[in-house]
Symmetry: C2
Subunit: 296 residues, 2 copies
DNA sequence: GCATAATATTCGTTAAAGGCGAACGTTTGG
DNA sequence: CCAAACGTTCGCCTTTAACGAATATTATGC
């Protein structure tokens, strides 16, 4: 009995995911006739059909499902091998970091600080949406994703979530917005507010706070991008509910003032990685103890 | 950039484990020159050496270690795929059971009872030493191993241990050995005893019991094979310390008598499996809730 | 220290596997 | 009922793998 042919298995994997010989053949840059015969050989080797030919469509059989599951593991492991060895090649080490585009730049800077001085390390920083970044993480194009909105891990997305930092949240604005002698509830009801957008985890807790104080807020803007929030606060558009770290420079220079500290609210920052056999060694300098999140 | 060649990777795996091209070539039934060139191509594809050529010996480089780790996972997954599909082939299902040669036959029978009536199921029963059986389990030649001495699981042996049954232990012998009106301590000190061998987990607890009673036992035999223990008890060699299930027939017929029940002792029986993506479905009929044992 | 056995590497040749494209068969949808 | 979209089959060609002999290297015994 010949050994399992992994070449065939690879073709099978693509066909199974695409659902069509034709599309799979395009993706693999070979003729579909070649695919057809190679898939057939795999079926012969395994002694059972992997696809049910229903008309011109291909449907996985139960055996096909089993085979695909194993194939996915096999080729994911192979890709991980390539990525791991890739990263080791060359003298200069690289760490590829993805950051949510809406995340505070100062926080990103703090996270990366231990590596920034080093001439032997290259930091590749890419920002994007959560979906983009997690896809890139799964595809091993990124080593870590920074976010203030930790994902749920599950079997398909076996993420590790590391809590990096927790920042208090304050009510911050230009000096002319920050009138003396007002209570928190008075400030929140009288001044126009810059709130985190509803897509941000913090927003839920802000709403809860406003409700508990019986405040009907006057919302000037809802923003998910912290850099934009900073600009709007500097422009004096309103009082922003943000962690002071976001506008640290402006606070230092007196351009902005923290009117109140919202002690019941905090913003947490997380670094998200995936299970790697040989994780990027640079990560250990930035993240302490890897804690597993989610189920098995 | 061409994709990773799994054919090359397979060769590499064997060479890395054997440590020699020559031996690997024998195992693979190909010329060593072929191996040499294929390994070289893999190294070229990966862009780094996998072996350090120290004289005529091959030593894994760090990259080689990484590659071997991944290769082991990959081919273990492939083997599992083959084994899983193998088992599904044909109408008759088969369950391959390994049992410690020294284990009570009645217990084995009880465990397998749900399958024994079924004409559509074939039970393959193989007995052997613990080492043999666990190797076969790891190599996917067995679906489950029955034992009264559960193994420790670790990263290299990711076993699941299922507690199947717990049997009380009694003091059992022929009627002429079972004199009326004696205390347990008196029986244990006066009659010759048949004890489980020191290799059996139960023995430690038997010794503890004897010590706590202040008994200096008169040991007739130490036996690890329950079938042999049964024969010796029937021969009237002495009082046996065994679970009654081992000699159930003889107890029913009056050929043997249970003189005392050792309430502080029990023998537990376990079914050991390994993590499988698609476990043999017959197992679910025999084992309730799979519980993970040992560490990760 | 030198011969020898054991091992890895190189190279030219041969065998096997993979791939191509055209022709054919089948299903689906207008 | 025809055309478009697929999957399958088949003969031919290309690429890859394997072989075996020659070569190089290094431990080991005498």
């Amino acid at each position: 009995m010949p050994a399992l042919n992994y070449h065939h298995l690879r073709y099978f994997q693509v066909v199974a995911h695409e659902g069509h010989l034709t599309r799979a053949a395009e993706q693999l840059n070979i003729a579909q006739s070649a695919l057809s015969s190679q898939i057939r050989r795999l079926e012969e080797r395994l002694g059972q059909s992997l696809f049910e030919r229903r008309g011109r469509a291909l449907h996985l059989t139960e055996a096909g499902r089993i085979a695909l599951d194993h194939a996915d593991t096999i080729f994911a492991t192979g890709d991980e091998l390539l990525a791991t060895l890739q990263q080791r090649t060359g003298e200069r080490q690289a760490l590829r970091v993805g950051a949510l585009a809406t995340l505070s730049r100062n926080f990103q800077l703090r996270f990366l600080r231990p590596l920034l001085g080093r001439s032997d390390v290259e930091v590749v920083l890419r920002s994007g949406s959560a979906a983009e970044l997690y896809d890139a993480l799964m595809g091993l194009q990124l080593d870590v994703v920074l976010t203030n909105d930790p994902p749920r891990a599950d079997a398909l997305r076996p993420f590790h979530v590391h809590r990096i930092d927790e920042q208090p949240v304050g009510l911050i604005g230009t000096p002319d917005h920050v009138v003396d002698g007002l209570s928190l509830a008075e400030r929140l009801s009288t001044a126009p507010l810059l709130l985190p957008a509803r897509s941000v985890g913090l927003r839920t807790r802000v709403d809860a706070l406003l409700a508990s104080l019986g405040v009907a807020p006057q919302i000037a803007a809802e923003v998910d991008d912290m850099a934009m929030m900073r600009l709007l606060a500097r422009e004096g558009v309103g009082l922003a509910i943000i962690p002071p770290i976001v506008v640290r420079d402006e606070l230092d220079s007196g351009q902005l003032i923290e009117a109140d500290r919202l002690t019941t609210l905090t913003e947490t920052f997380h670094a998200v990685t995936i299970e790697r056999r040989y994780p990027n060694p640079l990560l250990s300098l930035l993240i302490d103890a890897p804690k597993r999140s989610g189920h098995d």
